[in-house]
C-alpha cells in the first residue's frame, strides 16, 4: 500500500504486480504533464507525458491517466520489475510553454519493488 513516511511517500509492491502512483497537481491552467523516474545517484529520466486535451496515454508497460476535474494524475506500471524501483515525479507545466517551458515538480513517490 501507500504510506507517507518521514520523507518521501513510499509505495511498496511485489514483483509482477501492477503499480499505481498518484499525483495531485496545483494549477487548473496547466497544459502539459510529465512523469519522470529518478534512480539513486542519477538525474530524472523521462517516462511518459500527456497533454491537457487527453485523458489517457499509453507507453510500453506504462499508462498515464489525467483527471482535470479533480486535478489528478496517475502513473500505472504493469508487471512491476525490480528495475522499476526509483523515485517517481510528476510535473505540470503552465502555459504558454515554448521558451518559458517551466515545469513544476511534485514531491515524488518512492517505488520499492519486493522480489
Amino acid at each position: 500500500g501507500e504510506s507517507v513516511g518521514l520523507h518521501l511517500p513510499t509505495l511498496s509492491v511485489q514483483e509482477g504486480d501492477n503499480s499505481i502512483i498518484n499525483c495531485a497537481y496545483s494549477n487548473s491552467a496547466s497544459d502539459y504533464f510529465i512523469w519522470y523516474k529518478q534512480e539513486s545517484g542519477k538525474g530524472p529520466q523521462f517516462i511518459i507525458d500527456i497533454r491537457s486535451n487527453m485523458d489517457k496515454r499509453q507507453g510500453q508497460r506504462v499508462t498515464v491517466l489525467l483527471n482535470k476535474t479533480v486535478k489528478h494524475l496517475s502513473l500505472q506500471i504493469a508487471a512491476t520489475q525490480p528495475g522499476d524501483s526509483a523515485v517517481y515525479f510528476c510535473a505540470e507545466r503552465l502555459p504558454p510553454g515554448g521558451a518559458t517551458n517551466k515545469l513544476i515538480f511534485g514531491t515524488g513517490t518512492l517505488l520499492a519493488v519486493q522480489p
Binding site: R93, A99, L103
Partner: protein
Amino acid sequence: DTAVSQTPKYLVTQMGNDKSIKCEQNLGHDTMYWYKQDSKKFLKIMFSYNNKELIINETVPNRFSPKSPDKAHLNLHINSLELGDSAVYFCASSPPGWQGGEQFFGPGTRLTVL
C-alpha cells in the same frame, strides 16, 4: 554519447568559497535549465536560458549567477557558499516550441558545503 553532461559530479567546499558547475548539452536544444534538489528530493527550478537569453529567474539569492556562453552551455557560479546551498544541482535542456515539454536532465552535481 552523453546528452547532457555536468562537471564536477561531486563538489565539497568550505563556507564562504566561490565555486562553479559546468553544463553542456549536445542535443542541439535551445533552452537550458538549472534545478536544485534538496535532501527531501524536492526538485525546484532556479533558472532557464533560451538561446543565451535569461527566461526564468526564480527567487534565488543573487549569489547564484548563471552564465550561458552559447546555447550548448549553461554554467552556474555560486559566490560566498553557505551551508544551505548543499544540495544536488541538475542541469537540463529542452527543444523549443511545443516539443519543449520534455526536459532532458544531466547526472547532477552533489554540492556539499562544510
